[in-house]
């Protein structure tokens, strides 16, 4: 290891290894054997060859903020910490609107870079801290605040550079021409060649080491008028998400149970009182001109009026004005990426984050609500509508005290997972104890193909073993 990375970039001291042995979740901790800090691909090629020779696990790590135990080295091995040195923004292409980044680049880093140098461009940001890594979220199909328009972060991937199990450096996407390094302006598209990105997206690092990725940027529209929406019926948020998604006037909908909203504005142990809306939503809307904004708001209000005529009780308020007057902390949910301090103030955080069939929103809310009441835990649900209404997101998320409440919370997540999977939800960024549940329901043909691809891509099972029960 020292020969490859240099003595200052390798450690096996327990005190250095410990922070890499656990994350915020309930997933069991396990110590790695080494942590290495790479600077270039040559080092990684040597590492992969070495690890294949001696069958040593390699675990990719950027900033350690996932909520699924995905970088815990279940079988020991070597943590490759990309966050320390492979963290450069390599290129911003103003013309074709993309950013080429190394694995350690964070959302905050890219946002700052764009605001300072390309203020007319923006990336799509998740409800995550600024120090969370872009590549991990993109490769795991994470959410964005442009979700209602563009879908998940993986939908905005143009291309990747990957080191495969045999040490080959592979470029995927429009950057695939040429033998040596790709031109910086060649990372502009994912298609029309066979989509080899699928060999790496959502595989949780089990098929190769991704060393570069190109992500799409978007024009930053000058006018923003986000709306706060209040839902006074328990399931009113369901039809709203479906209808507003297909109205194609909003960038995103971040809907959450009121307990989440109360937590985010600083109420320590939030519960819902009579008269409070069970669900609220923050809806980013942007436009190029005031007239376009007026038209979008008119369509948006028509959606609500039409639903209310059919029996819902939904109200909208100007979000900037409301949050400024009544609680500036609420802007934290809108100005992404951001650290929701109250979500991270306990020692534990876990979730069941899932892609969801949007026609099941009401049933998901009602059935999980029963489970929350059964366990005496307030509902902490997040919902979204994605890509013009094509699908939804349903995410129960929990902060908890690891040493006192973990057992109770895990029992609840377990039961919620069963209900959601039964209703057709597909979890993402998923810990292996939940992929075990999925495997019981996935068709055998899919599983056989999955296993065949995995054994072809990683015959010695050195890449992040344990994920997806590999």
């Amino acid at each position: 290891m020292i020969e490859i990375f240099g003595a200052s970039n390798v450690t096996n001291k327990q005190v250095d290894l410990y922070p890499y042995s656990y994350d915020m979740t309930e997933n069991e901790s396990h110590m790695p054997d080494f942590v290495v800090i790479p600077e270039n691909n040559d080092q990684l090629v040597q590492l992969i060859k070495f690890c294949n020779q001696f069958i040593i696990p390699i675990i990719p790590y950027t900033t350690g903020n996932n909520v699924g135990g995905l970088t815990i080295p279940d079988y020991g091995g070597i943590i490759v910490d990309f966050g320390k040195k492979m963290n450069k923004i390599l290129h911003i292409d103003d013309n074709m609107m993309y950013a080429l980044v190394e694995p350690g680049v964070t959302f905050g880093q890219l946002k700052k870079h764009l605001e300072e140098n390309y203020p007319h461009l923006r990336y799509s940001y998740p409800n995550a801290p600024p120090y969370a890594g872009i590549m991990g979220n993109a490769l795991l199909s994470g959410m964005t605040n442009l979700g209602a328009k563009i879908g998940s972060m993986a939908d905005g991937l143009n291309g990747l550079e990957v080191i495969t199990a045999d040490g080959d450096i592979v470029r995927i996407g429009s950057c695939f021409y040429g033998e040596s390094e790709a031109e910086l302006d060649s990372w502009w598209c994912r298609y029309p060649m066979p989509d080899l990105l699928g060999l790496f997206v959502n595989w949780q690092g089990t098929t190769g080491l991704v060393t570069k990725c190109s992500v799409q940027l978007w024009p930053k529209e000058p006018i923003e008028k986000p709306q706060l929406v209040l839902f006074f019926g328990l399931t009113d948020v369901g039809p709203f998400l479906r209808e507003v998604g297909r109205a194609e006037v909003v960038n995103d909908v971040a809907a959450f149970s009121v307990e989440v909203a109360k937590m985010e504005v600083g109420i320590p142990e939030p519960t819902r009182y009579p008269g409070e809306p069970p669900y609220t939503a923050v809806v980013p809307i942007s436009a190029k001109t005031e007239k376009q904004m007026e038209a979008k708001l008119e369509i948006f209000k028509n959606v609500i009026d039409d639903l209310n005529k059919k029996g819902t009780n939904i109200q909208s308020i100007d979000y900037y004005e409301f949050s400024k007057l009544f609680n500036l902390k609420a802007r934290n949910i809108y100005d992404l990426p951001s650290q929701i301090l109250s979500l991270h103030e306990y020692s534990g955080l876990t979730w069941f984050g899932a892609y969801a069939p949007s026609h099941k929103f009401e049933e998901l809310i009602e059935r999980t609500d029963e489970l929350y009441h059964k366990h005496g835990i307030p509902p902490f649900n997040y919902l979204k509508i994605m890509k013009g209404g094509h699908y939804g997101i349903f995410r129960p998320i929990f902060r908890f005290k690891k040493f006192t409440d973990q057992e109770k919370i895990v029992k609840l997540v377990d039961e919620i997972a069963d209900v959601c999977i039964e209703l057709g939800c597909i979890p993402y960024k998923t810990p292996s104890w939940i992929t075990t549940k999925l495997r019981k329901k996935i068709n055998p043909g899919w599983l056989r193909l999955f296993e065949k691809i995995k054994s072809c891509m990683d015959p010695n099972n050195i890449f992040n073993p344990g994920r997806w029960n590999t």
Binding site: I317, L325, F326
Partner: protein
Amino acid sequence: MINIEFPDDLISLSLHTVFSYRKNDKKFIKAVKDWNKKIVLHIEPFYPVTVIFEGSNIKFERKEMDDFDLKLNIHINTMLDIAYGRLTPIQAMDQKKMELIGLEKDPKIMPKFFNVFVTSMSMVAADPNLNYFELNKETR
């Protein structure tokens, strides 16, 4: 010095935020100290909240108390219109977007009510700061 109870419902918390903005404002302290009134705010589409001014304390009850001194009925969007200067309270009452009940009990209550509630909201709305982490931590 005014003590403002930290509530755990949405509307009371919002009012807590507004009052806290003026916690060190001498005019505000003078207005609310020993006011000893119960003011009901029913902000539609939410629920009524009674704000209790008692000595040096401001407390909140998540209901309409029967012995209120003044009651305000208003929609949240009208409240924002007033706070941001698009509508005056008089215009709101003329247009029946705002209703005050109990004025006959104490004719002096209205100016003080406007100072404590409406002026405070307008001051918060006019503050150019949009970053919660730059707020005065002693007052908000």
